[in-house]
């Protein structure tokens, strides 16, 4: 494995982590359209809080996918064709979510506006849930053949491990979204978020413990890369505790950043467990390795230069945009 290959493996992880950190909160806010918002005004508050940024957040997924295609075509091909139906469901959810944000604004009739807002709520749950399932099923191992194609049965995709993984990512996104809501709004939504976080954090800690146990018994991640896995695992729990503590103490900014970090650390946990593989075969002989899944050295070099120039600029204006919209929306009550 060359240093360039390693760099790109890490970079793909960073891009997915960035995606979950950013889109995670707007998934969470989206879910609140169903769970927490009762009045038109509250839904308006929710939309306003993520309106200017959710689109750019979603581009992180696009960038991660594109970067995977460019740097590890054999990983991309195997993963995307192998998880065909699940990715299809994610795509449908993202399409309807994006359209609903725009359409809900165009509708005057209450009934149809509610229909689009329910769509936002459902799709904001479906997308992170299925992405969580995909990533956990992927590290658990798949029936891969010599060509790198996955011929999985229903239980390869849907099993206790991937279901817990899906719920975990959805719950982390929801918590992350509640923290974001607390940063952005006042009034009843703020109070409801505070109340829900009191229960959500202990639930998440329990979920993390369950996930760690399942990972230990159902996957080879801990055996494959014990040092990193045994470091990252407690880090996730500590971050969750910190976030819980900050949230209880009313330190909203810190709670938000740490709840995002939980998602990023989960990506790190899964990627470290994969290493030096990119796809885990049920038959280890057919696992796909970083070493032989990547693009040529030349392509990786070109892409590295592009990233080196473009990523700082991209981050700069994205952060600037967050600064521009960093305000709290007051409730009229």
């Amino acid at each position: 494995m060359s240093e360039l290959q390693l760099l790109w493996f890490v970079l793909i992880g960073v891009l997915f982590a960035g995606f979950f950190f950013l889109e995670g909160y707007d998934f969470g806010v989206g879910m609140q359209f169903i769970t927490n918002a009762h009045t038109k005004e509250e839904r308006e508050q929710l939309y306003s809080s993520i309106g200017p940024n959710w689109d750019a957040n979603e581009v992180w997924l696009l960038t991660a996918g594109g970067a995977m295609f460019a740097s590890f075509p054999f990983w991309y091909a195997s993963l995307f064709s192998g998880f065909y139906i699940m990715l299809f469901i994610v795509l449908i959810a993202l399409i309807f979510r994006a359209a609903s944000f725009e359409f809900r604004d165009q509708v005057q009739k209450y009934v149809s506006q509610r229909a689009w807002e329910r769509t936002i709520g459902i799709s904001s749950f479906v997308a992170p849930f299925f992405l969580g399932m995909i990533f956990t099923a992927m590290v658990k191992g798949m029936p891969i053949d010599a060509h790198g194609d996955i011929y999985g049965g229903f239980f390869d995709y849907v099993n206790i491990y991937s279901l817990v993984g899906g719920v975990a990512v959805a719950l982390m996104s929801y918590i992350h979204g509640l923290n974001f809501t607390k940063l952005k709004v006042e009034g009843r939504l703020y109070d409801v978020a505070t109340k829900q976080l009191k229960f959500a954090y202990p639930l998440l800690i329990a979920g993390e413990a369950l996930f760690a146990v399942l990972t230990f018994f159902m996957t080879d991640l801990f055996q494959n890369n014990p040092v990193w896995e045994f470091i990252i695992c407690p880090v996730i729990v500590v971050t969750t505790l910190l976030s819980w503590f900050a949230s209880a103490k009313g330190k909203e900014g810190f709670a938000f950043v740490t709840s995002g970090l939980i998602l990023a650390e989960l990506v790190a946990f899964l990627f470290a467990g994969l290493f030096p593989r990119v796809m885990v075969g049920n038959n280890p002989k057919f696992s796909i390795l970083i070493e032989n899944a990547s693009s040529s050295t030349y392509t990786l070099q070109v892409m590295s230069i592009v990233v080196l120039i473009a990523l700082p600029i991209t981050l700069a204006y994205q952060i600037w945009s967050f600064v521009v919209f960093a305000r709290r929306f007051k409730s009229s009550k």
Binding site: L62, F69, F80, Y84, L91, I95, D105, V107, D149, V306
Partner: protein, 480 residues
Amino acid sequence: MSLFSVLDLSRFQFAMTTIFHFFFVPLSIGTGLIVSIMETLYVVKKDEMYKKMARFWGKIFLLSFAVGVPTGIIQEFQFGMNWSDYSRFVGDIFGAPLAVEALVAFFAESTFIGLWMFTWDRFKPWVHALFIWVTTFASAISALWILGANSFMQNPVAFAIDGKMNRLKLVDFFQLITNPQLGFEFSHVLFGAFVTAAFVIVGMSAFRLLKSEKLGAELTLFYRKSLKIAAIVGLLGSLGSIASGDAQTQFLMKQQPMKFAAMEGVDNTLDSSKRDDKAEPWTVIGFWNAKTHKFVGKIEVPYALSILGNHSLTGGKTVGMNELNKQLQREYGNQSKDYYVPVNTVFYSFRVMAGGAGLVFLLAILALYFNRKDGKQLLKYRWFLWILGIATYLPFVINSAGWLITELGRYPWTVYGLFTTADSVSPNATVPGLLFTNGIFFLAFGLLGIAMIVYARRVLHAGPDDVEYETLAKDKKGEA
């Protein structure tokens, strides 16, 4: 199960998702440009009407962007999902432009559109206008990279064959992005985007102007001015797309002669040096018989193919499909395989595209002519307003026809001369899975398409004075 094959269903799904996506791509790029022009006019002339225009047509821009983005994610994902062997074979080259597109263009587009949407009252007018220009510019750059990837499929350059890993390898990034095909393709698509948006705005304005008595003087002026700006963009766009289309065709004659022969319905080689009139005739209509390999029932215009293809009254030689098939069989060493493209579809798509381009050019000129001075003629000729209104849909048909020629005309290749469609498809794809996804995509696109049209109409009927702009909750309550 023999009713459908995995390959056919995968191809159908790709065509469906791409055509649907490409309804919104040119519409976003084009409306982006026109809205940018309108807002710039506001900054320069300080006339509130232009601000109203930018905001009003900006609604259409946002609607099309909202559907364009997620349908674009399908494009990027489906190479891996449905065409995994293709992804493995070309990933070293093809993935890079897609990743660069997301990184340098798409981020800018989506960030600045957010800034533009929500900051009407927070920045100086010229700064705010800058946001929409950045968005428009980034969306054009976005198209550049995607078409760079497509140009590689049309005219592969900058590659070496890596036999060990059974794939192509990139050898020169600069050569990849200076592919001559990209120049033709990008300019053609960009001008096509201008035409698309122009005719949507011309058409929608025309529908409103049919009711000009009810609208009153101020709104009538509003729609007439909108129509004028859009028609100018449409006129320039149609000229540009005709010129770039011609240049593309010249390149095609050498690079993908089978596509060209199918576009023109040339079955056996036309050689004007062997003809009495020393010129090639052009076939207007006809029908390709795939069994006899003959183009039958032809109606021909003498001289026309020499003029169109060769830019001269005499001379020219167009190698026919039957000869090309033999050539290709020799070149690729497969005597039993036929290299005919889907001739009738390509042939008639070309007529729809070229005829449509002529029509939009004519309509743009007439619209500008009738709309001159006080625009009395335009308001009087209700039949013409109706035609303009219906022409709202015309560019979408033209664009789709253009892509059918480009993509189907490359048959049987995904990467011309190197890799076939049949080799590209995911080995683990199944007929039931594809039937399911095809069906859901079809329903979803149908629903979104209808919603899009309904809401665009609603925006239009509410009018520019009634549009509730994208404002943040706080601003709506008037708190400073």
